[in-house]
C-alpha cells in the first residue's frame, strides 16, 4: 500500500510565507451540448494568510465554480491558481487529493456526512486517508468535535443530529487534518438564522484563535457581516471587493437572539 506521508507532493514548508490563495485571470467554461456556459470570466484575486472572506453574489454568478477551483475539486479552463505558491494545474490527481486532504478543509451546504456513520467516524475520515494511526486519529477527531461543541455527540449518527449539529460535525471533519485554509460553500444555506450565527461563531473563533484562512460563500448579507472582507460576484466576474466595515461578532449577536432548544 503506497503511503503518501513519505513523499510530500509539494514542498509546502519552503513556502510558509507564500500567499495562501492567488488566482490569476481564471476562466471556466462548461460545455453543454452545443452551448458553452461561461461560469467564470477572468477572476483575479489574492487572499492572504488569516483572512476571512465572504463571497457573495446572485445564484448562478459562479461562486460555487470558484470555490470548487479553490478547493482543487475542479480545475480552471484557463488562467492560474497558485495555492501557497504552487501552481495547482501542474499537480496530478494523487497530489490534488493530498491537498484536499491536508491543506484545505471543505464545508458544504448539504453537510455531506456519511450516513449510518457516527459523528466521530465522520470527523475521523480525512485522517484515515492521511494514513494517521488509529489512536492519533481518534484523539484528533475528538478534539475537533470538542472544538465545535459536540464532544458529547461523538457516537451519534447524522440522522440523530439537528442540521446545525450536522454542519458542526462537517466542520470538525474539515479541521481534523489541521488545514491552513477552510472553504465553505453556503454552509448556512440549510440552517435557520440562530444556528447560522452559531456556525459563524465557530468560524470566527477558528479565524481568530487559529489564524485559519477562511473563504465562505453566502448570499445572505447578514452572514457576510461576520467576515472581514467581501467579494461580490456577478456573471462570472468580480464586481466588488472590499473590507467589511461594520464587522459583527457572532458571540455578541447570539446573546441578543432568543435561545433555542438544541
Amino acid at each position: 500500500m503506497a503511503t503518501m506521508t513519505s513523499t510530500p507532493p509539494v514542498a509546502f514548508s519552503e513556502k510558509e510565507t507564500a500567499v495562501p490563495i492567488r488566482v490569476e485571470d481564471v476562466h471556466k467554461y462548461y460545455e453543454l451540448g452545443d452551448t458553452r456556459v461561461h461560469a467564470l470570466r477572468g477572476i483575479s484575486v489574492e487572499i492572504a494568510h488569516g483572512e476571512f472572506v465572504a463571497v457573495m453574489g446572485a445564484s448562478g454568478s459562479g461562486k460555487s465554480t470558484f470555490m470548487n477551483i479553490l478547493g482543487c475539486l475542479d480545475g480552471p479552463s484557463s488562467g492560474k491558481y497558485l495555492l501557497e505558491g504552487t501552481d495547482v494545474s501542474l499537480l496530478n490527481k494523487r497530489e490534488l487529493a493530498a491537498i484536499r486532504n491536508r491543506k484545505i478543509g471543505f464545508v458544504f451546504q448539504g453537510f455531506n456526512l456519511l450516513s449510518r456513520t457516527t459523528a466521530l467516524e465522520n470527523a475521523e475520515l480525512p485522517a484515515i486517508y492521511a494514513r494517521i494511526s488509529e489512536q492519533e486519529r481518534i484523539s484528533r477527531a475528538k478534539e475537533a468535535l470538542a472544538m465545535v461543541g459536540l464532544a458529547d455527540r461523538a457516537e451519534h449518527f447524522p440522522s440523530q443530529l439537528s442540521g446545525g449539529q450536522q454542519q458542526r460535525v462537517a466542520i470538525a471533519r474539515a479541521l481534523v487534518n489541521r488545514p491552513a485554509i477552510l472553504l465553505a460553500d453556503e454552509p448556512t444555506g440549510n440552517l435557520d438564522s440562530r444556528t447560522s450565527v452559531e456556525v459563524m461563531e465557530i468560524f470566527q473563533k477558528l479565524n481568530e484563535e487559529r489564524g485559519l484562512t477562511i473563504v465562505l460563500v453566502t448570499h445572505e448579507h447578514d452572514i457576510a457581516q461576520f467576515a472581514k472582507r467581501s467579494i461580490v460576484f456577478r456573471d462570472g466576474k468580480i464586481r466588488k471587493d472590499e473590507a467589511i466595515v461594520n464587522r459583527q461578532l457572532a458571540s455578541e449577536v447570539l446573546r441578543t437572539l432568543p435561545a433555542l432548544e438544541d
Binding site: 475539486l73 494523487r94 487529493a97 486532504n101 471543505f106 456526512l113 480525512p126 484515515i128 486517508y129 494514513r131
Partner: protein, 406 residues
C-alpha cells in the same frame, strides 16, 4: 489507508445490506460447496475403484484370445479360435514368473431348479481360478482337476444365482438343469459384489470345468481366455513378457504381425480406471466451477449497483482527500470480502455435503484438501476479477459530479 481500516469499512458496507450481501455471496457459496462436494465424490469413486482392483489382486493377469486392435479396427476379444488348452499348459510350464494359470471359456444359459429358472453367465475354468481371484467358497467344495479330466457335470454357483434359485433350500447337493443336462451343485461362492473392472454383478455366475463347457455346451476346442497370477505384483510385468513370448512362439507370430491374443495386466487396468475417474472428477469439478463464475458475475452486478447507489459517498470521500487508489481499493476489498465470505460458507457447506452424500446416497467420498485450497484461491480470484471493473468505475468518478449526484 491501512488494510484493517479498509476491511472494516468493507465489512460495514456489507453488513449494511445483509440480505443482499447474502444473496450475492450465494453464487460463490454454491460454487465452492459444489466444487468441494464434486471433487470429494470423484475422488471417492477413484479410491473405491483402486480398492476393488487391489482386492482383486494386483498380480493378476488376463490373457484374452483375439485382439483389442487389428489393423486399426477395434475388435471384441475372444472371437479368434486360436487359444487352446495347450497354450495354457505351456504358460504353466514355461513361464517362471507365473504362479498359477486357469483356462477360461464362457457361455450363458438358463438354469432350472424345480419351478424356478435363472439366466446367467457360465464360466468354464479350472480349480485354480478361485485361488487366482482370491475368491473363497461359502459352502461346499470347489471342483477338482479330476472333474476337469472327466468333464463332470458339477457346478459352483455365485451368490446371486443362489438367491434366485434357492431362496430357502441349501443348494449344495441339489441338482439343477442347464440346457436340459443335470448338474450337481457342489459349492457356493462368497459374495464378491460389483466391480468396475470385472463387470457389474460378479456374483451372477456359475463356475464349472472348462472341459464341460467346451464339450457339452459350446462344442468347441477353443478357449476365450486364461486367468494368470504372477509370483508377485512386481513379477507381473515379467510374467506378461514371458506369456507373450510363449504364445507368439506357439502361434508362430513374427514381428510385423499382430498378436492373436492380448495380455492385460491389472496394474494397467488400475491405470486405465484411474485415468477415467480422474477425467470424471475434473468434469464434475469444472461443471461445479461454472457456478463460481456465475457467482462472480453476481458480485460484479451488485458491486455496480452499489457504486451507483453510493456515488455521493464516493464524492464525499474524494472531496476530503481519498485518492483514486483509495476508492478503488475500498470497492475491490468489498468484492473480495464478499467472495471470501461466500467461499468460507461454501467450504462449510461443501464439507457438510461430503458428509451427507455417503450417508444419504451411499456413494463413497474422499475429501480433498487441495480442492478446498483451490476453491478458496478461486473465490479470492473471482472477487478480484469481478470486483475490479466496478471498483475502477468508482475510482474514475469525478468528485464534483459525484457530490451533486442525488
Amino acid at each position: 489507508m491501512e488494510l484493517m481500516a479498509t476491511i472494516r469499512i468493507a465489512l460495514r458496507a456489507i453488513a449494511r445490506n445483509k440480505l443482499r450481501s447474502c444473496l450475492t455471496s450465494l453464487g460463490i457459496i454454491i460454487g465452492v460447496g459444489a466444487v468441494i462436494a464434486m471433487v470429494a465424490l470423484g475422488q471417492g469413486a477413484q479410491h473405491q475403484v483402486q480398492q476393488q482392483i487391489a482386492a482383486m489382486g494386483s498380480n493378476v493377469l488376463f490373457v484374452g484370445s483375439g485382439t483389442m486392435n487389428r489393423g486399426g479396427v477395434r475388435l471384441g476379444w475372444g472371437n479368434t479360435k486360436t487359444l487352446v488348452y495347450d497354450d495354457v499348459a505351456a504358460i504353466r510350464r514355461e513361464c517362471p514368473a507365473v504362479s498359477m494359470v486357469a483356462a477360461g471359456t464362457g457361455t450363458s444359459a438358463q438354469i432350472v431348479f424345480g419351478n424356478d429358472n435363472w439366466y446367467t453367465r457360465i464360466t468354464g475354468t479350472e480349480p485354480e481360478y478361485l485361488d487366482i481371484r482370491a475368491w473363497p467358497l461359502d459352502e461346499g467344495t470347489n471342483f477338482t482337476q479330476d472333474d476337469v479330466q472327466t468333464a463332470a457335470n458339477v457346478a459352483v454357483i455365485g451368490d446371486t444365482v443362489r438367491k434366485n434359485l434357492f431362496p430357502a433350500a441349501d443348494p449344495v447337493g441339489q441338482t439343477v438343469r442347464i440346457n436340459s443336462l443335470p448338474f450337481r451343485v457342489i459349492g457356493v461362492l462368497s459374495v464378491k459384489g460389483s466391480s468396475v473392472a470385472m463387470g457389474n454383478d460378479q456374483d451372477d455366475v456359475i463356475l464349472m470345468p472348462y472341459t464341460t463347457v467346451q464339450k457339452k455346451m459350446n462344442g468347441t476346442q477353443w478357449l476365450a481366455y486364461a486367468m494368470v497370477s504372477a509370483q508377485s505384483k512386481e513379477a507381473s510385468f515379467a510374467a506378461q513378457g514371458q506369456i507373450e513370448g510363449v504364445l507368439r512362439d506357439r502361434h508362430r507370430i513374427r514381428q510385423p504381425q499382430d498378436d492373436d491374443f492380448f495380455v492385460r495386466n491389472m496394474a494397467d487396468v488400475a491405470d486405465l480406471y484411474d485415468q477415467q475417474t480422474t477425467v470424471m472428477t475434473l468434469l464434475l469439478a469444472s461443471i461445479a466451477s461454472v457456478s463460481l463464475i456465475v457467482g462472480g458475475i453476481g458480485i460484479m452486478n451488485i458491486m455496480l449497483v452499489s457504486v451507483t447507489e453510493r456515488t455521493r459517498e464516493i464524492g464525499i470521500r474524494m472531496a476530503i482527500g481519498a485518492t483514486e487508489d483509495d476508492v478503488q481499493r475500498q470497492f475491490l476489498t468489498e468484492a473480495v470480502v464478499l467472495s471470501v465470505m461466500g467461499g468460507a460458507i461454501g467450504i462449510v457447506s461443501g464439507l457438510a455435503l461430503s458428509f451427507l452424500i455417503p450417508r444419504v446416497l451411499g456413494w463413497p467420498v474422499s475429501i480433498s484438501t487441495t480442492a478446498i485450497l483451490i476453491a478458496v484461491l478461486f473465490s479470492i480470484a473471482v472477487g478480484v476479477f469481478f470486483g475490479y471493473y466496478p471498483a475502477r468505475k468508482a475510482a474514475r468518478l469525478n468528485p464534483i459530479e459525484a457530490l451533486r449526484y442525488e
